[in-house]
């Protein structure tokens, strides 16, 4: 199952050469199976659960719905890119300390979604948080501790600014 085609993807600022790929492979598949970046998870294959959330040119998208070969000209950011310096981001830290992680399968996608939300809106209302995260399904937590993690990040960021 291969072709002679090859292309390059820019992921987390690094160019990756993709060769011998079948042209129908999703970005999620290529990230996970060809580029050694399994942080993005696949749970529904149809853009319903958000586990595979990545940023393409700054937009949060479900990588299972994107053909990898169609993302050649774009800047792709994955959960692995959040920790270039080895430390947790404030969102990741809050997910751990507030109990937002149980099985953890939805977690990378939710971490990306929360970063995206707070990058666009530094003081979201409760409803804005719920709406922004409603594309990411978590089956373990019932969302309560995830909301608590978001609240904590918002509070800490505000405290740091004041």
């Amino acid at each position: 199952m291969s072709t002679n085609e090859f292309y390059s993807l820019k992921v987390n600022g690094v160019d990756h050469h993709v060769s011998d790929a079948w042209i129908g492979e999703s970005l999620l598949y290529v990230l996970r199976e060809r580029l050694g970046l399994p942080g993005s998870k696949g749970a529904c294959e149809q853009g319903e659960c958000g586990s595979c959330t990545v940023f393409i040119d700054g937009a949060a998208v479900c990588s299972c719905l994107v053909m990898a070969a169609s993302a050649v000209e774009s800047e792709i950011a994955t959960v692995e890119g959040l920790n270039a310096d080895g430390t947790l981001t404030d969102v990741q830290e809050a997910f751990v300390t507030e109990g937002a992680v149980q099985c953890g399968f939805c977690t990378p996608g939710l971490v990306m979604a929360v970063h995206h939300l707070l990058d666009e809106n530094d003081s979201p209302s409760e409803l804005e948080v719920k709406e922004a995260l409603s594309g990411n399904i978590c089956r373990c937590t019932g969302y309560g501790r995830i909301f608590a993690a978001v609240d904590k990040v918002v509070a800490v960021r505000k405290g740091a600014l004041s």
């Binding site: 998870k41 149809q46 149980q102 719920k130 409603s134 990411n136 373990c140």
Partner: protein
């Protein structure tokens, strides 16, 4: 007493998950993230028919596809041709007949998932379609030809208790229907099998709830000695009961052994709906007899659980259902008939709540009917009948567990109700949410109650023990067990136990695999009690030996020692020494098996001490309903849960909130639609799960009354949250619209038509 010098994550603290950092970074290795050199992909061919005879299977064309390395069918299974948790009645691959839509027929191994798909498409199976047994009632008796050599009735159980001639002053009756719910864990089934070089064994990384049970069933089917089937727990993306049964374990190992190459299998979401058992759909009839005041004097009931094509745990689910008929209420007399039947519907088995969900939906509907019939309210009727420690169940078993039912109801009732829905509420707060369909002026609010009792641990004489090893060396503890971590947090709890018992700070968990005795299943709310008991026992044995060593060194009777914070202290003298110092240069390792007290099987009248212990919970739901559109928004869930002792408040809260969301799903959203044996919605587009916008405000109280039977005083907390929240929400809907609704999930047409 010395003051606490360091803050250590002992029992009672909200110790954080040791795997949390890896999980938020995407570094945690779920089974589906695993790779091996020279690895092949596996895939499964499944039946498109719910019931058909297999005339022929032709794999010739599949073998010829470039990249295909192996095709296996029933003819290639080297050992036992069937498996199963209670009864070995499910074929590894269907051979002569398929009994449900999605039943495995063949498996392939190839170089790429797409090659696998093409290979599956190239296999030709000729079927003769057979009549479909889809009505569970037809499976009782001889109305339908047996669809399986073991017959259509999986199990029948009757309960007859007390003076059955009693008739109540007031009688209320109801028929209840519970739909088929899916566990819908996010991490679909996955396994990576690595064949041994000699071809006589295999190592399998798998996401499962019970490594040793998988190992036993796999070894039998693969015709290998048990020790040559070595299982390692791959990262598990949720479970909720769906990983108790074998799914892809035997197929993956068989392909690896046949190809002499590593093989990975991973189900997609659609396949996952066909690849694991679901919650039993059930019909329940109940008739409650009570005094004029509302005290229950007799309950009559009939349960039918649709087990689908294979038995799985249906026999145990049935027993849970019928033995929980009365709910958390006193009941002196009962006549109950229960049936678990085989049909050509999808196989059903374990899901969080395990048979009690179905019983609770019915008995809570009955309690509200009884309240209305005697002219009282939902809270008063429940308080009047509330079970207490020492009461007899309808099985004749005394409830020895702490049973603070009345307190749970009162404490839940004390939680403030949410404010009224504002006249200018944001549309996202209205039923229907972002669909922006409901209008504020049409919305009606309702309040409903649900209270439940749930057995914890396995029942009917089964000794579901757990094993753990504790090794102390240089002040550090390593804990070894086969307890499946599926997200619930045993890997957080186990080190907490070691820190409390041994006074250490540095405690870690070893690889979870079959290189130690069984831990039993991560199910039945049992691991805190059972594996917690095993870890506690192993740590205590190590502590005894440490005291002996230190006592010999310092000429002090070991019995005088105790652990105080991180030190060994002489309780009758002045000696004290840190555990770190005391354990320098020595290694002490002990293994402990924890067994719960024995239980009994039920007799033909359903009498016997079949359960180990019980946990209780109360839920009050507040909902907003649009009666014209049939839309529901769950506004608030108030709950008080009987937890025994809280060992980790954050973990307990996570179980409570998560369980409530799943119970909400069963109340108003989640149902696998099956028509004449065919699953119509096997995707997350069509099977709806609660999202962040559906999550209600949860106000939870943890009621701590130390459970003397439990090794750590703690009851399991996993299942109760999802059980009575479902009837509470449905009762709130009834309250809002004044209409009797007898099924869950409640669909728009149940409200507005």
């Amino acid at each position: 007493m010395s003051s606490v010098k360091t803050k250590r994550d002992v029992l009672g603290t909200s110790s954080l998950r040791p795997d949390g950092g890896a999980k938020v970074k995407g570094d945690f290795a779920f089974t589906s993230d695993l790779h091996a050199e020279n690895m092949l992909w596996g895939a499964t061919l499944r039946s498109p028919h719910p019931h058909a005879r297999i005339i022929s299977i032709d794999t010739t064309a599949a073998w010829k596809i470039a990249g295909v390395e192996c095709v296996v069918t029933a003819d290639d299974v080297p050992g036992q041709l069937t498996y199963g948790l209670i009864s070995s009645d499910q074929p590894v691959f269907a051979k002569d007949v398929v009994r449900y839509m999605g039943e495995p027929i063949a498996a392939v191994a190839a170089d790429h998932p797409e090659t696998c798909r093409r290979a599956l498409a190239a296999i030709t199976v000729v079927y003769e379609v057979l009549p479909v047994l889809f009505d569970p009632e037809l499976a009782i008796g001889d109305d339908f030809e047996p669809i399986h050599p073991e017959g259509n009735l999986i199990r029948q159980q009757r309960i007859v208790h007390g003076d059955t001639s009693v008739v109540g002053d007031v009688i209320v009756e109801g028929h209840y229907v519970i739909g088929m719910q899916d566990q819908a864990f996010l991490g679909t089934e996955s396994a990576l099998a690595l064949p041994d070089a000699d071809g006589q064994g295999v190592e399998v990384f798998v996401a499962t709830q019970w490594l040793h049970e998988d190992q036993k069933q796999m070894a039998a089917c693969l015709n290998l000695p048990t020790e040559r089937v070595r299982l390692v727990l791959g990262g598990v993306g949720g479970a909720f009961g769906a990983r108790e049964d074998i799914s892809l374990q035997v197929h993956t190992a068989l392909l690896a052994l046949r190809t002499s190459r590593p093989v990975k299998m991973q189900y997609g979401r659609e396949e996952s709906f066909f690849g694991h058992v679901h919650r039993h759909p059930a019909t329940v009839w109940m008739r409650h007899h009570a005094t004029n005041e509302g005290k229950i004097v007799k309950i009559e009931a009939r349960f039918v659980f649709d087990g689908g094509a294979y038995a799985s745990t249906s026999a145990a689910v049935l027993i849970n259902g019928v033995t929980h008929t009365q709910g958390p209420y006193k009941c002196p007399v009962a006549v109950v008939d229960g049936y678990a039947v085989r049909t050509n519907n999808p196989p059903c088995g374990a899901m969080r709540g395990f048979g009690v969900v179905q019983a609770c939906f019915a008995h809570e509907g009955q309690m509200d009917k009884l309240a209305a019939a005697v002219g009282t309210d939902p809270v008063s009727i429940r308080l009047m009948n509330a079970m207490e420690t020492g009461d007899l169940l309808i099985t004749g078993q005394p409830v020895e567990s702490v049973a603070p039912v009345a307190r749970l109801i009162r404490e839940t009732n004390e939680i403030p109700l949410p404010p009224d829905l504002a006249m200018d509420a944001n549309e996202l707060e209205l039923p229907g949410g972002s669909g922006i369909t409901a209008e504020r002026k049409h919305i009606k609010r309702g309040i409903g109650w649900g209270v439940s009792i749930k057995n914890i641990m396995y029942s009917e004489g089964f000794d579901d023990y757990s094993t753990a090893r504790c090794t102390l060396s240089d002040g550090k503890v390593v804990l070894k067990f086969a307890t499946s971590e599926v997200g619930q947090g045993f890997v957080t709890l186990a080190p907490q136990i070691a820190r409390s018992v041994l006074g250490v700070t540095d405690a870690v968990c070893d690889t979870i695999d079959t290189q130690i005795g069984s831990a039993g299943s991560t199910s039945a709310s049992r691991q805190t009690w059972m594996s917690g008991g095993a870890v506690d026992g192993a740590c205590r044995l190590v502590r005894e030996r440490l005291f002996e060593v230190v006592g010999a060194q310092h000429n002090i009777e070991p019995i005088r020692f105790a652990i105080e914070d991180d030190e060994i202290v002489d309780t009758a003298g002045t000696f004290r020494m840190s555990v770190i110092e005391a354990s320098q240069g020595i290694t002490i390792s002990e293994t402990f098996e924890h067994h719960h007290r024995p239980t009994e099987e039920l007799d033909e009248n359903g009498q016997g001490n079949c359960h180990v212990a019980f946990a209780f919970v109360a839920h009050r739901a507040v909902v907003d309903v649009d009666p014209e559109l049939g839309l529901v928004k769950v506004v608030q869930i108030a709950t008080a849960q009987d937890v025994g002792q809280v060992l980790n408040p954050l973990s307990v809260l996570g179980q409570i909130e998560g369980g409530i969301a799943q119970g909400l799903g069963l109340a108003v959203m989640e149902e696998i639609i099956v028509q004449e044996g065919r699953v119509r919605n096997p995707s997350f587009t069509d099977y709806l799960l609660p999202t962040a916008l559906d999550a209600p405000v949860v106000v939870a109280r943890m009621i701590e009354e130390y459970e003397q039977q439990a090794p750590l005083g703690a009851k399991g907390v996993g299942e109760p949250p999802c059980i009575s929240v479902t009837p509470a929400i449905v009762a709130a809907i009834r309250d809002a619209i004044g209409k009797d609704i007898d099924r869950c999930p409640v669909r728009p047409q149940d409200i507005c038509l």
